[in-house]
Amino acid sequence: MPDEEVLEEGVLNPVKPEIQDPLLKSLLKEEAAPVEKEQPQPLPDPTDEVDCVVIGTGAGGAPLLARLAMAGLKVVALEAGPWHNPSRDFATDEKAQEFLFWNDERLAAGQDPVAFGKNNSGTGVGGSTLHYTAYTPRAQDDDFHIRRDFGVGMDWPFGYDELEPYYEELEQFLGISGPENYPWGKPRRRPYPLAPLPLNGAAQLMARACQQLGIRTSPAANASLSARYYQEGVGWREACTNRGFCQAGCSTGAKASMDVTFLPLAVGHGADIRPNSFVTEIERDESGRITGVVYQQNGLPQRQKCRHLFLCAGAVETPRLLLLNELALNSGHVGKNFMAHTGLQVWGTFAEDVRPYKGIPGALISEDMHRPPQADFAGGYLLQSIGIMPVTFAGQVARERKLWGQPLRAYMRQYNHAAGIDMHGECLPHAENFLELAEEKDARGLPKPRIHFTNHENERRMMRHAEKLMRQIWTQAGAQDIWSFPRNAHLIGTARMGLSGDDAVVNADGKAFDVPNLYICDNSVFPSSLSVNPALTIMALSLRTADKFLEARRLVS
């Protein structure tokens, strides 16, 4: 294959193929010669230095952006993707919604390559919260101490008590729907502000079978509104209509993505959010202090000077930017400790009409396996019921069952009778699991990230344990034709937080050890994966990072 096409691969705007014919090439060249070439424009060099630039507007960037703006700071957020109008532009169609995903190609390596794109990435104002499922369980107390309790992995530099006030603040601010009495974890000081969302078919099947087997379940906590809710800086947000399309974009504003919660709040307090702004360079002075960033906005280079930089681009783009800019690399841990939750799913076919496209996909949860007795692994996992959209389901059936021809079509005709359960469990950091820059370049001319991932003994044992249990639950529920879909979900690690710059990239406040005015806040700073969905904890860290920054600033002044 000709070389020039490597550069075109996997990009929205392919590079124009180079002309191969030597004669035509020389003719075109001669003709082009006398025309005056467009000179590259010098970068605008605005004198207006802002207090903070925030890169990324997802769960890591948006809450702190609002916090900093509310403290009166001059803040600019740079978002690689566009600003959408969900009520007008979001279709109830999986293919049409693919613009929500980070579609620059990533290379998946290792024994258990992790899928990116629609599984694990996002772009647009709001980041991947635009298509997160909005599962918002709190992490439990012992989640932060996996090394203390099991002698493996890494402890967080602080515990649950440190994040509890932020969890509480977020649940109230976002309008999280949840049960009156959640059976697991420390008792909460304030109840969830809204009642839980209704149980769909998959949730009812799981509830019934678990009750018979003596496994506790509960309606899940979810950041979609079960009743209309007043959102500061936004106005009334309407209740969820059970569209079941959370993972392909909420068009009603019922789901607490950042674009309908923290970002309007930030804008109301003067934050400047710039969409379609892809950061390429982080500039520094001789002392190593960051002075500003260079970004491409609608194809034009721009510069923004800043006193402080908050890098919140997610566990792939954050380390990629650091590696590209050779920034904060002293610990040797940038790109290392990549983790992805054990996320195996079990599917079955039921006599009942399930219609898996209705209701929030994961309406029911069980954390009974958070620390299962007599387990042969460290940590634990949670279980969730799952509904699913048809194209996603079909793709999984093809990849895992390898059905084709009439058997594939016959199986898919049972779609309305399909229901699933999945797990999210601890993943330990391993030296073999890491992100690096590949030689292959994308259309921006930047090296593609290559992510190595292999489940090790602890993850494999945990998945075996969970698979056995989930199959037992589905058998009890009356499922036929049960099958498993092994996967890993959520991208975690790659710029971890710790007590020492010898083995961590940022300190307990989210501040880089190496760079005086760099903060990092997203799932990349997690020292361990926790055995719950990460979004709520990322947001809690985001608010905490802003508070720590503001506290330090007050001390200096």
Binding site: G10, K95, N242, R399, R409
Partner: protein, 197 residues
């Protein structure tokens, strides 16, 4: 089990579907019958069509849903779904090698190109490919299992994104303007089609 024909088609004409949703689905229904490939050469494109016809056979349809244009257009425009198995070459090269490899496997097994085989012979070649046992030099450069997975997944997703295929499986999630209130087991809204024996 089947669902009544025309369900999705009828729903698309109603206010139960948003304008954005209707636009996306109607475009697939209205896709022209003839598609001129922009990435593949004419022969390779016909191999892709022939393979698609075995992976998702549609003998009951007078005009089968065309799946090959989805892949050809994506490769021509250089679009990606955001990731690639590191063991595979870039998508364009993978598809060229893979479709060429399918022809090599057909030659090895039946001494003819894939397109010239009858359906049973074509299925025999696909079976070998699915089992990772297809013959041919191209497979020295291309991981057969991962290529087959990608090919099958892309065609399958293209098929079930089509309104007629969604109708076939009884999916009417696109008609969501009023929301869903009857979401429990065996609970149907009037606009959800019932299965026919």
């Amino acid at each position: 089990m089947t669902y009544p024909e025309g369900t999705v088609h009828a729903l698309l004409q109603t206010d139960l579907v948003t304008e954005a949703t209707r636009t996306a689905l109607q475009a697939r229904l209205d896709a022209p019958a003839h598609y001129e490939p922009r990435f593949f050469d004419a022969d390779t494109y016909q191999v892709l069509r022939a393979v698609a016809a075995r992976l998702l056979p549609q003998p009951e349809r007078a005009r089968p849903i065309e799946l090959a244009p989805v892949i050809d257009a994506r490769l021509a425009e250089g679009r990606s779904d955001g990731w690639r198995y590191d063991v595979l070459p870039p998508d364009r090269e993978a598809y060229r090698l893979g479709l060429g490899g399918i022809n090599q496997a057909a030659q090895k097994q039946f001494q003819q190109d894939f397109r010239e085989l009858n359906e049973a012979q074509q299925d025999a070649v696909v079976e070998q490919l699915a089992a990772g046992k297809a013959a041919g030099n191209n497979w020295m450069q291309l991981n057969q299992g991962r290529f087959f997975e990608e090919l099958l997944a892309e065609l399958t997703e293209a098929y079930y994104a089509h309104p007629l295929a969604q109708e076939e499986i009884g999916y009417v999630g696109m008609a969501d303007v009023p929301g869903w209130t009857r979401i429990g087991l065996n609970e149907l809204e009037p606009r959800e089609p019932e299965e026919q024996p």
